[in-house]
């Protein structure tokens, strides 16, 4: 869908990567200065890389060797910036309609009325951008990009400027967008939780190079790549279905590897959940532990032990068809004699499965 090959040199820094993103949301993850913004700016046409080739759905928008470099306004690539960048002299309605007049006639990815409804903008249409909160402005910016009839969207840390309450307010809109509007999205983020909730593919960028790229599930469960997300935040994604909401407030979620208990008050019975289990929250035991408080004790098989990063290491575990990551010390790995193929028990406290790590999937 989106083919990117780039080489770009800055003072003391070289970006060099090639990736071929499928549809859905592709998260471009990396820490500050990893080169994420350079990639999206090159895709949008706001930055001309030294060397590169970029094609969207087969249409070449940049090919430095062939001398092709489409201007941003000819690329039909929507861009949601970190700051909303709304036009201050236009009201919300005119901001939303801004792009449509430049687009070819015909239906876009979403109708105006539906975009307004989906993003909850009905009450804001006649307001000016200066009178909007950060969260409202972010929603308007998203609607404005969607209504410009783009063939794909770029999002450059659209939530980074918002506090955590506003983030929690916006994320569900992004999920609706992902599930309803089938538009390929390149989503730049340095928040692992956002990546885990939204992305179908993940590209892990480190110092201008691609450290890992693939389906979100595989990359998030890759013990070799996990360190790139930061030790505390790394963790595999598993999916399950809510089968019961117990009277003490815990939900019982059936996964491929057995039942997991967690707190998910908003999920109705039958809902499909995606949950990220942070590696640091997983404890391993060789024998089935008894008389422990941890509610979730799952039978797992060690698949792979990653390379040590200081005193800690990520261990990939098979939970039925699902994959789990556990972050352990190298000392524990040695003490337990962990190796590929060993069967053991993984313990996860129900309370460590926080609601921000849980997503309802359509």
């Amino acid at each position: 869908m989106l083919e990117i090959a780039l080489k770009h040199r800055f003072a003391g820094f070289t970006l060099d990567l090639a990736l071929n993103a499928p549809g859905g949301i592709t998260a471009l993850f990396g820490h500050s200065g990893a080169g994420k913004s350079t990639v999206v700016n090159a895709v949008s046409g706001l930055l001309r890389p030294d060397l590169g080739r970029i094609a969207v759905g087969g249409d070449v928008v940049l090919d430095t060797e062939a001398g092709i470099n489409l201007a941003p306004h000819r690329r039909r690539i929507g861009y949601v910036f970190q700051e909303a960048r709304l036009f201050p002299h236009l009201d919300v309605r005119a901001n939303l309609n801004y792009g449509a007049r430049f687009a070819a006639p015909g239906p876009g990815v979403i109708r105006f009325d539906r975009a307004v409804e989906m993003l909850g903008l009905g009450a804001l249409l006649d307001r000016r951008p200066g009178a909007l909160s950060g969260g409202e402005a972010a929603r308007v910016a998203l609607g404005r990009a969607l209504l410009s009839k783009p063939r794909m969207l770029l999002m450059d840390e659209p939530l980074a400027a918002l506090d955590s309450a506003r983030k929690a307010e916006i994320l569900p809109y992004f999920e609706t967008l992902r599930d309803e509007v089938k538009l390929p999205i390149l989503y730049v983020s340095h928040a692992p939780a956002e990546v885990a909730r939204l992305a179908s593919s993940v590209a892990l960028l480190e110092d201008g190079h691609l450290r890992a790229f693939g389906p979100a599930r595989d990359v998030l469960a890759d013990p070799g790549a996990a360190g790139g997300f930061g030790g505390r935040a790394a963790g595999a994604l598993i999916s399950g279905r809510v089968v019961a909401q117990d009277s003490d407030g815990l939900a019982r979620v059936e996964t491929a590897g057995g039942a997991i208990f967690l707190e998910a008050p908003s999920a109705p019975i039958g809902a499909q959940l995606g949950l990220q289990i942070h590696g640091a929250d997983v404890t391993l035991a060789l024998a089935r532990p008894e008389q422990v408080s941890a509610l979730n004790i799952l039978r797992v098989t060690v698949l792979e032990i990653g390379a040590p990063d200081g005193p800690s290491v990520f261990v990939q575990l098979a939970l039925g068809e699902e994959r789990l990551l556990a972050r352990l010390t190298t000392r524990s790995v040695a003490a337990l004699g962990l190796r590929a193929g060993l069967e053991c028990h993984a313990m996860i406290k129900a309370v460590s499965l926080a609601s921000q790590d849980v997503t309802q999937r359509a």
Partner: protein
């Protein structure tokens, strides 16, 4: 009085489009000769007005380089009100460009980049984003230029002389009135008119400046 308004009005109106174009080029353009253009624009501000007037006279007199060409198509500038407008326009131009350039520089280039990703070409970005945001700056620039044009003396008297009814603008009339015995009373009248016009222009530009702030902040006006 009417002549002064006509001269200043024509000077401002004719130089405005050029002023916006030059201000945009100076604010956003990166090209060879940027510094040179900046210097030429500011020249009338630094040079003694008499020198500017003399340079205009050399260029636009009927036997001057440009003047001869204009004379062939029937336009006479020297010693004519149109020449007074030219002199006033040239002298006011740097002030106009500075005001508009400041307004353009206050427009966040990120907004223009956003517009381009929404499908607007460079022309449309200017028309639909940059221009509306700088309208108050343009008006402020025009008013400053108008006030400067009303008061222009040195270049005007050098270029088009001081011909009553033809090139005698308000400041020239005040000067002339002071040259004749007993002319003080008519000079005072002219001075009062002059002060009123200047204060009026200042007031209008103040109001507009407030509007700029509100508009760029995106508040409801």
């Amino acid at each position: 009085m009417t002549l002064s308004l006509k001269v200043a009005g024509v000077a401002t109106a004719c130089s405005l489009p050029l002023g916006v174009a030059v201000a945009y080029a100076l604010a956003r353009g990166r090209f060879v000769g940027h510094g040179l253009l900046n210097g030429i624009v500011h020249l009338p501000l630094i040079l003694p007005p008499v020198v500017t007037g003399y340079l205009l006279l050399m260029g636009f007199a009927p036997n001057g380089v440009i003047g001869a060409a204009l004379a062939r198509i029937g336009i006479r500038l020297a010693f004519d009100w149109k020449g007074a407008a030219l002199a006033a326009g040239v002298m006011a131009f740097p002030l106009m460009v500075r005001a508009i350039r400041l307004a353009i520089e206050a427009v966040d280039p990120k907004l223009e980049a956003a517009a381009s990703t929404l499908g607007a070409s460079r022309f449309w970005v200017f028309v639909s984003v940059t221009l509306p945001l700088i309208v108050p700056g343009i008006i402020a620039g025009a008013i400053t230029a108008f006030a400067k044009a009303m008061g222009e003396f040195g270049a005007t008297i050098t270029f088009v002389s001081n011909i009553p009814g033809q090139t005698q603008t308000l400041p020239l009339a005040i000067y002339s009135a002071l040259q004749v015995p007993g002319g003080e009373s008519s000079a005072v009248k002219l001075v009062v008119i002059s002060i009123t016009l200047a204060l009026g222009a200042l007031l209008v530009s103040e109001v507009l400046a407030k509007r700029v702030a509100a508009r760029i902040a995106g508040r409801d006006a």
